[in-house]
């Protein structure tokens, strides 16, 4: 419309019916109306049906006693007093745990395999290639079931637990380790660790500025290691080792006491890391190949050695290509963790959309909340990765 009046001199006046802008606006408005009407009808219908069939709705169930047991809880939870709301948090934390550890390990595996894939050594690149081709082309659920059953079958039964150093045991029920229990005074050790971390950061900054000014290098790695590891150890010894261990011991059926890493968790973690690692391998390989060979040649011409060339020239440029597809692999890993129910790991989908949904029967609320949670986790992850990407992106001068 505005165009019609503004450009009256140069363009012939057309009727609104034939004006493409008006037409597209009308069609879009109609589409929005139709979709809005459909959504409204669906919601209205659902509400009416629920009311007519007298199915409970709303979030009143949130504070009711859950009454079922969960095998792995990162926060205190007991079936006697805890509510459905607490069961939700237990499930959410279990999801976040497996996703966070999985992302770190899958990245490591993917980078190692991605570099190995490009190795000149046929054996190394062959192994990486077979790994990618096999793992990437099998459904994840199948792999999870395989790992779970393989893990269970391979481990010794609980009666012939395998003894490990430091009073640990390994059997079909998991890996049992002594649980450290902090005594008064342990806070100093934690404080020393953070102080060491801060000191290491400041030292690295000082060393970089010194190198830029004078060209002299400082032993960064050793000094930082001493600050981050050495300082807390010194404080630990100085305060009289304020840490005790709760050792696992064999009971009638199970091993009790200590900490336990359950086979369900291991199977899920293993499956997710191996599966996602294969995709990250290809992302990394593509990223490295995207850096033109001229860069390497130029670097050699400047006299840089091969490992410095990789570290200072190739990787920073490859990262720009790697990060965006890497983000979607992280999102995939997090979302795929909802297959946990098939190997009995109590993640959010298992505990909340499984048991809680079934006990309360409130599908709409429970599934809605779960979708919202996965959406939030995914959006959070991609925001973080986008920020990292913008830092690594080419700065045009």
């Amino acid at each position: 419309m505005s165009q019609a009046s503004g450009a009256a001199d140069t363009k012939p006046r057309v009727s609104p019916i034939n004006d493409p802008r008006v037409r597209s606006l009308v069609f879009q408005a109609m589409l929005v109306l139709v979709i809005g009407f459909a959504v409204f009808t669906a919601i209205n219908n659902a509400r009416e049906n629920l009311q007519r069939q007298k199915i409970a709705s709303g979030f009143g169930f949130w504070d009711n006693i859950a009454g079922f047991a969960i095998s792995q809880t990162l926060i205190p939870y007991s079936e006697a007093v805890s509510s459905y709301g607490q069961a939700f948090w237990v499930g959410l934390l279990n999801t976040l745990l497996v996703a966070a550890i999985g992302i770190v390990l899958a990245t490591l595996l993917g980078f190692v395999m991605g570099v190995a894939r490009l190795s000149k050594n046929i054996l190394v690149s062959g192994v990486a290639r077979w790994y990618v081709e096999i793992v990437r082309n099998l459904p994840l659920l199948l792999q999870l079931l395989f790992w779970y059953n393989a893990v269970l079958k391979a481990l010794p039964a609980v009666r012939d637990s395998m003894g490990l150093p430091f009073g640990s045991y390994l059997n079909q029920r998991g890996l049992f380790m002594p649980q450290p229990i902090a005594q008064p005074g342990f806070n100093f050790v934690i404080a020393a660790f953070f102080a060491g971390l801060l000191g290491a950061g400041l030292y690295a900054r000082w060393a970089r500025i010194r190198q830029e000014r004078t060209g002299q290098q400082s032993p960064v790695l050793w000094v930082r290691l001493a600050l981050v590891v050495g300082l807390p150890v010194l404080v630990f010894l100085a305060t009289g080792a304020p840490l005790q261990f709760d050792f696992p011991s064999a009971g009638r059926f199970n091993i009790s006491g200590g900490m336990v890493v359950q086979p369900e968790f291991l199977a899920l973690l293993f499956g997710l890391v191996i599966y996602t690692g294969a995709f990250i391998t290809e992302v990394v390989r593509a990223g490295i190949l995207a850096v033109s060979h001229g860069q390497t040649e130029a670097s050699y011409a400047l006299g840089l050695r091969p490992n410095l060339t990789t570290r200072l020239i190739i990787i920073p440029q490859a990262l720009r290509v790697i990060i965006p597809p890497l983000t979607s692999q992280y999102l995939n890993l997090t979302k795929n963790s909802s297959l946990a129910v098939f190997v009995g790991y109590p993640d959010l989908a298992n505990v909340f959309t499984g048991t809680v949904l079934n006990q309360t029967g409130q599908a709409i609320e429970v599934v809605g909340v779960t979708m919202l949670v996965y959406l939030s986790i995914s959006l959070g992850t991609s925001t973080l990765m986008n920020w990292y990407n913008s830092r690594k992106a080419l700065v045009e001068r």
Partner: protein, 338 residues
């Protein structure tokens, strides 16, 4: 023209969304020509398809009796295999007309889930299975044991209750399907496997060495299993309810699949009312008056159905026990047909 198309599409969509609600279930069933029955994904004796896709079991036959009453043909039925976790949503959303899937009748399911239980076709209770090598004689000795359990069942809650009430430490591992649960137990992940006692007997037969496992004597809960329908359709509720009662009444009166044709000539007024030669009880439910005859002719009475699927005529060989008629010391009791 475009506008008409669009509004037609919107109207069709709205109709689609609301179609679940409008007609009565009986009319819908008659219109489509079969009963859609929610069944177990595979529990021997209750609901299980064989290699040819033929379903057998007590729950399955309970469903067939409904189809026989409506269509005079027990094959006019389709089964939807449902996991414990998905079964209620399937019934609530109208995906199935009736749910007969060894489902325990509890107050919360009867009220806030929007379900109506029509009766009890099997009185059950929860038990435990363990390895004989554990040398456990009672469930009370299971303190500290790992227990494999299927998700979304009353079993899961009873288990936690029982261990808590007896001050035993519980380590439960929860799986989505009964297959995964049993597999984990067999692999040695758990010391004990728990489900309804009837289920224990049938799942035990699926283990590679059934003789190495035993069922503990304790029954830790009441599990009345029965068919359920959606809230808000009393006619359909009545049909499902009285189908089971007709089978119980037939057993009580000695009417069987074999002698039902002779019984049509019976002078016993109770038999006449059951088989529809006297009174118009079918009409009141929207069914023909010979609905009782149809059920017995095609599916048999409750006792025949029981023995064929879970009793002496089946590999499970479960005794009638609580499921005997009230006249024989059991709990099965039907209100009079009159």
């Amino acid at each position: 023209m475009k506008k008409i198309l669009v509004s037609a599409a919107a109207g069709a969509l709205a109709a689609l969304v609301s179609s679940v609600a409008s007609a009565g279930t009986l009319d819908t069933v008659k219109q489509k020509g079969f009963v859609q029955c929610g069944a177990n994904t595979g529990l021997a004796g209750f609901g299980q398809p064989d290699a040819q896709g033929n379903w057998t079991g007590l729950d399955v036959d309970t469903c067939r009796a409904i189809a026989a009453a409506i269509f005079n043909d027990p094959t006019k039925i389709k089964f939807t295999p449902l996991s414990a976790k998905d079964r209620f949503t399937a019934l609530q959303s109208g995906e199935v007309d009736v749910l007969v899937r060894n489902t325990t009748w509890t107050i919360s399911r009867d009220t806030s889930l929007g379900l109506n239980f029509t009766g009890v076709n099997y009185y059950d209770g929860q038990g435990f299975m363990v390895r004989k090598s554990l040398k456990v004689a009672s469930a009370l000795e299971l303190g500290g044991a790992s227990v494999c359990v299927q998700q979304g069942t009353t079993t899961e809650l009873n288990l936690a209750d029982y261990f808590r009430a007896n001050k035993l430490e519980l380590k439960s591992v929860t799986f989505a399907t009964s297959d995964e649960t049993l597999k984990a137990y067999e692999a040695g992940r758990c010391d004990a496997f728990t489900t309804d006692a009837s289920g224990l007997y049938s799942e035990r037969l699926r283990l590679s060495k059934p003789d190495e496992h035993m069922v503990l004597p304790e029954i830790i809960s009441k599990e009345p299993l029965g068919p359920s329908v959606r809230h808000g359709d009393d006619q359909w509720f009545d049909i499902v309810k009285w189908t089971l009662y007709a089978q119980l009444t037939a057993e009580e009166l000695g009417v069987t699949q074999a002698n039902v044709d002779q019984m049509m000539k019976s002078e016993n007024p109770d038999v006449k009312r059951l088989l529809g030669t006297e009174g118009k009880f079918g009409e009141a439910m929207g069914l023909p008056n010979d609905w009782g005859y149809r059920i017995i002719k095609h599916v048999g009475n409750y006792g025949e159905m029981f023995e064929r699927t879970v009793g002496q005529g089946s590999p499970l060989k479960i005794a009638r026990g609580l499921n005997a008629l009230w006249t024989k010391g059991g709990l099965q009791y039907a209100p009079p047909i009159r």
